[in-house]
């Protein structure tokens, strides 16, 4: 009997540990959603949070961050970091708008290409010269911001007849008048699915986890760490480029100075909230999705409740610290000799 109780305890402990990973944040997302509904009901007299219209808005608001955070998940699983995604997003959005003014259909491919090239530059510096990812991407955070301002002549670029604007503001109608899904959310979900497939179902995915878990062992077992690193930073850049196109489609405009400021922090927050370890080797894309949705629900809910902009910042910051605390707790749980 003793043994049964003990094994029960072991199972419980394992579940507790699992629940902190990946899907573990799902209950927090649900609790947060219900909380927002209750508070809006209390404050404004009607539950304005859990409506199909508002859910669409939340999905739309979360979409760009989900895309950036997906790329960031790849990078953080290898034990790295990409601080430059906000700047790359801005540069790619500028490229998308400028190209759309001259050669309409080429706008999105151009944005993706811009992101990919910038990501490859990060990756090459990290993979071939062995520079620390934090420093490389901190540098490109600034340099690419400069490029974003440069390509637009330090001005805001408009295009009222943006050919792909429907992507930014349109929705796919599932049940007319009742339920529709924003295209941005569909793109984000597609990115998550592809990322999941790469991470969990391909040789490359296994290698990404391996390099993050133990780079030396990976090299000795015949993996090419440089190829893996090049890939993850390229993906992060490419997805930042996609984020740029999405952002351009939403706004019909881009500004090299302001667009995408501190987006990298939102992306990192989403990844960490999702249970991906900063140390590398551990993490999941579903967790990242949940993490990004938590941030979106938090921002949207706080606006609906009428919390001031200043307090939104404070609450958001506390959430980041809470996330890191969770990361530490989880690491200690997993500590082994």
């Amino acid at each position: 009997m003793n043994r049964a109780i003990e094994s029960n305890g072991v199972i419980k402990a394992a579940c507790a540990r699992l629940s902190l990973r990946g899907f573990g944040m799902l209950p927090i997302l649900v609790i947060l959603g219900v909380l927002m509904q209750v508070v809006t009901l209390y404050v404004t007299g009607e539950g304005s949070f859990l409506t199909s219209q508002n859910m669409g808005i939340v999905a739309q608001q979360a979409a760009i961050n989900v895309v950036l955070a997906a790329g960031m998940t790849f990078v953080i699983i290898t034990g790295g970091i990409d601080l430059s995604v906000g700047s790359i997003l801005s540069a790619a959005a500028m490229v998308a708008l400028i190209v759309s003014l001259h050669a309409g259909p080429m706008a999105i491919p151009a944005a993706l290409a811009a992101g990919l090239v910038l990501g490859l530059c990060n990756g090459a510096l990290i993979a071939f010269f062995g520079l620390p990812p934090f420093i490389v991407t901190l540098g490109s955070l600034t340099a690419v911001r400069g490029i974003a301002r440069l390509v637009g002549g330090d001005a805001t670029v408009f295009n009222a007849e943006l050919p792909f604007a429907f992507l930014g503001n349109g929705s796919l109608t599932i049940i007319p008048g009742v339920f529709s899904v924003p295209y941005l959310a569909i793109i984000a979900l597609a990115v998550v699915l592809v990322s999941w497939f790469i991470l969990k179902r391909t040789v490359l995915g296994i290698h990404i986890y391996a390099v993050g878990g133990n780079a030396d062992a990976a090299r000795l077992s015949g993996i090419r760490p440089w190829a893996v690193l090049l890939f993850v930073y390229a993906v992060s850049g490419l997805l930042a480029g996609l984020g740029g196109a999405m952002s351009a489609a939403r706004l019909y405009a881009a500004n090299g100075l302001q667009l995408g400021q501190s987006y990298e922090l939102d992306a990192i927050t989403a990844v960490i909230l999702g249970g991906t370890s900063f140390v590398g080797g551990v993490g999941s894309i579903w967790g990242t999705l949940v993490g990004a949705l938590i941030i979106a629900v938090l921002s949207n809910g706080l606006i609906l409740i009428g919390v001031s902009d200043i307090w939104q910042y404070i609450i958001k910051g506390l959430v980041i610290i809470g996330a890191v605390t969770l990361d530490r707790y989880r690491l200690r749980e997993n500590a082994r000799t």
Partner: protein
Amino acid sequence: MNLSKDSPLACMPGLMHVQDSERSTGVTDVDPRCRSGDTQTRSGRMVLEMSNISKTFGSVKTLKDVELTVYAGEVHAYTADPGGEIRIDGQLVSIDGPLSARKHGISIIYQELALAPNLTVAANIYLGREASHGGVVLKKCMADQCRDVLARIGADFYPDTTVAELSLAQRQLVEIGRALHARSKIIIMDEPTTTLSSREADRLFDLMRQLRDDGVAIIYISHRMAEVYELADHVSVLRDGQYVGTLARKDATPAAIVRMMVGRDLSSLYKKEHKPARDPVPALEVRHISDGIRVRGCSFALHRGEVLGLAGLMGAGRTELAYLICGARTRSSGEMLVVGRRVDFRTPRQSQDAGIAYLTEDRKGLGLFLDMTVSENINLGICGRDAYGGWILNRKRARQRAAQAIDSLLIRVKSARTPVGTLSGGNQQKVLLSRLLETRPKILILDEPTRGVDIGAKSEIYRIVDDLAKAGVAVLVISSELTEVIGMADRVIVMREGEIAGSLGRGNRAITEENIIALATGAGCMPQQGRSN
């Protein structure tokens, strides 16, 4: 051996710890079953007594109903009730972690030393207990006291030396110094000699005997039997986490201990059924290979179906030579031939493609991915070969492969999806070995294949290596355990300071411990004595 008789005050039970690498001093889940605290025995008083101790680590029960009694000094400890209670001098105390253990006079010296390399010796010895006056650290006072401790353990370095400058053996002395300074009555040493050369180990043993005579009880955990016979006054044996029994010094014959550990006799430990092929062209030939630093002009040949031992002291350049062969480092001169064809590996991947597999000596640091599952660790190197379109995982094949490996290498694991970090050393080693074997190597380089591995897994690894050689694989075994080299190898080459000092067996001098040590140390540069085998 040269051990003095049981001293009236102390004894050193060497605890043979088998099958798992998790050791705990935090005592949990204990059934109260204590004996009298002041039991006098011929060899001294009980210091520590534990009974029916169990410990679970992750989902694996690593200790089951363990009993341990340690004599000496005047402390008696017993544990009771879940949560663990320990009685010292009749007073109940609880030990729930390393810190409280230290408070009660128990110090542990871990396999992986726990020093801060960036601090001085004095700072490390005082770590956590700095002598201070109003928050200001009293450096002078600390250094003075340190000097006394260092003198007592016969250290040849100073309190203000930075730990990073010390050798591993010296660092171990710092740990011991720390334990002494804390006035520990019980010192637990966990495989302290795995990273020491035999001369350094001898010095450590002398110190341990001296400490014992001073009244310190030492619990010595080791996989190396020779050390246990040499040192221990009592030997307790655990197998698969289960307490098997305790032998007094006079009964602790090698045969008796091995029987307790394996459940069978020593003669069956090694198996040598393979026959080296007599091909004119060796599977691997290395000619005057150098890396410009640690390896200087090494030449040897390795034949199909042969197990070639590579012996030498720590730092003789054995691992570095293996690195050159498998392409983990690039050589500065010399050439290498695989089945008569010149090769030039720049990365481990290239050597892998040529049929060479290298088992690292640093299983956790350079071998395994501890967070990943057993299956992932086994499939990692090979999964690209049968992936759909070269990159989509063939999960069915991966599952089969993992199941097969677990089956044929007798890896004891609940499921292939268990994280490899939760396994015991022996099972981890087998997982790593099966990853290499999945690449179907023709040449296998094993670097300390049984380091930190329990004796059951050891004998299984020996069997696996013999089977591989029988199947025609050429095997190079690097090992610091002489009995292992002698037991496994058909021929032994010995390295000294980066050079091949000589070769034993097969027309040369016989493979004996004396001959290997003579070559490794350069002590006996005797003329060739011809065949004596």
